[in-house]
Amino acid sequence: MAVYFQKREVVVPGQLLAEGRYRPSYGTYDENGKIYSTLVGLAELRGNTVKVVALEGAYIPKEGDLVIGIITTVAGNNWKVDIGGPYGASLHANNALRRPYSDDISEYMDIGDVISAEVIAFDRQTGPFLSMKGRGLRVLDKGMLFDVSPAKIPRIIGRRGSMINMITDHLRIQTVVGQNGRIWIKAPDTASLRLAIKAFKTIEAQAHTSNLTERINTMLAAEVAEIRSTAPTIKTGKDTENEAVEEEESVDTEQSDLTGDETNEAVDDIEEQELEMDENPDEETENAASDDIEDELEDKFDNEEVNEK
């Protein structure tokens, strides 16, 4: 019975983590009752379960994950979708369209389209299968895609979406965060878009530091004020950057552990956060979608929304 690591310590593969009645979990393996790390990461103990939070790594699909994919092939009734990582996913028309649908499914979604979808099946034998039957799963029109390391996604979402909600609230942008390390951002103007990208890059670079939500919050608050005050003209990049550095430094000295979560108590997950945004009329800049599928999905989406109320 012993634990050989500090909380949130950086551990390396093969490092002995615990001995005795502990349970190995993600990022660890058990050999003769001793638990070793398999990854470079931060070791954590929850109850009697030992796990290592990875700092790097490719995206490995998991059932139930929300992912952002790019359609690479249309093959009969299937779309082949690139979701990053070693495995290409496929999406069957039955899981995306309401019947009857046209024989040529490229009418609905074609090569190069960006979609948000859910992984409905993945195991060692069968490659990942996606579904778009779900709230908020749709073709992501306009906006831009931004890639981060999939290992940093939990931090970008934050606990119960605290981080991502904070960012979208500040910048009045729409985002979808896929577990596969892709972030879709749709912003009303370039300044907010740049700021969003900067925020995500900062989170990625400092993912394993403390008080991150608070620091990002302060940074965004300051910069948003700046953007709004100088109104429609776009700030020159140089100014904003210098200030950001100062801003961060001043925050580092403060200690404010608990404020991060307060703004977002009601929100449970990303989907719901998306839903909130769509409800908000002044943010919804999307045109009445001409795409059949979009209409259809939106309909479904609306219905569900109503049902909930």
Binding site: P13, V40, I60
Partner: protein, 272 residues
């Protein structure tokens, strides 16, 4: 480059080697992790004058498809020497020796990896020898295992590796180029430190049974020393990425996977 001449002795009358090392002494080793921007994981090693860079990509989709393994990822190691890495220009075409060493390195690394977590995928390891001064295959294994860890590939352990040889009848650790060329033998080996399992053991030259056993013992203890250096290099690379160091309270409440409460944890720690 002037033609090399055989040194008068490999072990001096005082019992020291050509470069002044004791028989069981390694050359100065410098390991760096994360040296390449584009690769998923990377590391470099300087061991004496040997300088090697390793880059890892993956796990990613495997092309050509027919190489795919249904139960685990394919580990593809490519060991290459730069044309300027040796005194005579090395011809740039892949040589028989390079292919063999690639295979040997793959075999030495694969027992350490949980490749079965990524069926049908590939893990690519590219090793480039910038400067060769003996012991390149062992140095390559040291660097490649760090690069694999940097890429976030699950591993049983890092894999340290060293060559033990015989020069003027004395067993010496970590052969330099001259000892390699003019010595009587060479035993490269690699181990998994937690269990001391041997994942690479080759031999050329002549060794008696006792000499070989002793050489292996020396190799294992040198590997353990190298393993410490590897762990240190890897931790350094990641702790350095933290801009404000490790000070300050670690916040409990930001990862969305922190779903359970910490009930019982504090009691547990007190048990110790």
């Amino acid at each position: 480059m002037s033609p090399e001449t055989k040194p008068d002795f490999l072990i001096s009358p005082e019992g020291l080697r050509v470069d002044g090392r004791r028989p069981d002494e390694l050359r100065p080793v410098e390991l760096k992790v994360g040296v390449l921007k584009q690769a998923d994981g990377s590391a470099s090693i300087r061991q004496g004058k040997t300088y090697i860079i390793a880059g890892v990509y993956g796990p990613r989709e495997l092309h050509p498809r027919h190489l795919a393994l249904n139960d685990r990822a394919f580990l593809r190691v490519v060991y290459r020497m730069a044309t300027f890495s040796v005194p005579d220009r090395k011809r740039p075409a892949p040589s028989r020796r390079e292919k063999e060493i690639s295979m040997v390195i793959a075999n030495a690394l694969s027992p350490a990896l949980f490749l079965e977590e990524f069926p049908r995928a590939v893990v690519d390891v590219f090793i480039q020898v910038i400067q060769a001064d003996g012991g390149t295959r062992c140095a390559s294994i040291n660097a490649a295992s760090l690069a694999l860890a940097d890429a976030g590939i699950p591993m049983r352990s890092l894999v340290p590796s060293v060559a033990v040889g015989k020069a003027d009848g004395v067993l010496v650790v970590d052969l330099g180029d001259e000892e390699d060329k003019y010595g009587e033998g060479d035993v490269p080996m690699a181990i998994l430190p937690p269990t001391e399992e041997i994942t690479l053991l080759q031999q050329d030259g002549f060794f008696t049974r006792d000499e070989l056993l002793e050489a292996m013992q020396m190799g294992i203890s040198s590997c353990k020393y190298l393993h410490e250096l590897q762990k240190e290099a890897l931790k350094k690379a990641y702790v350095k990425k933290t801009p404000d160091g490790e000070e300050g309270d670690v916040d409990e409440d930001e990862f969305d996977d922190d779903l359970e409460t910490d009930l019982g944890e504090s009691d547990m720690m007190e048990d110790e």
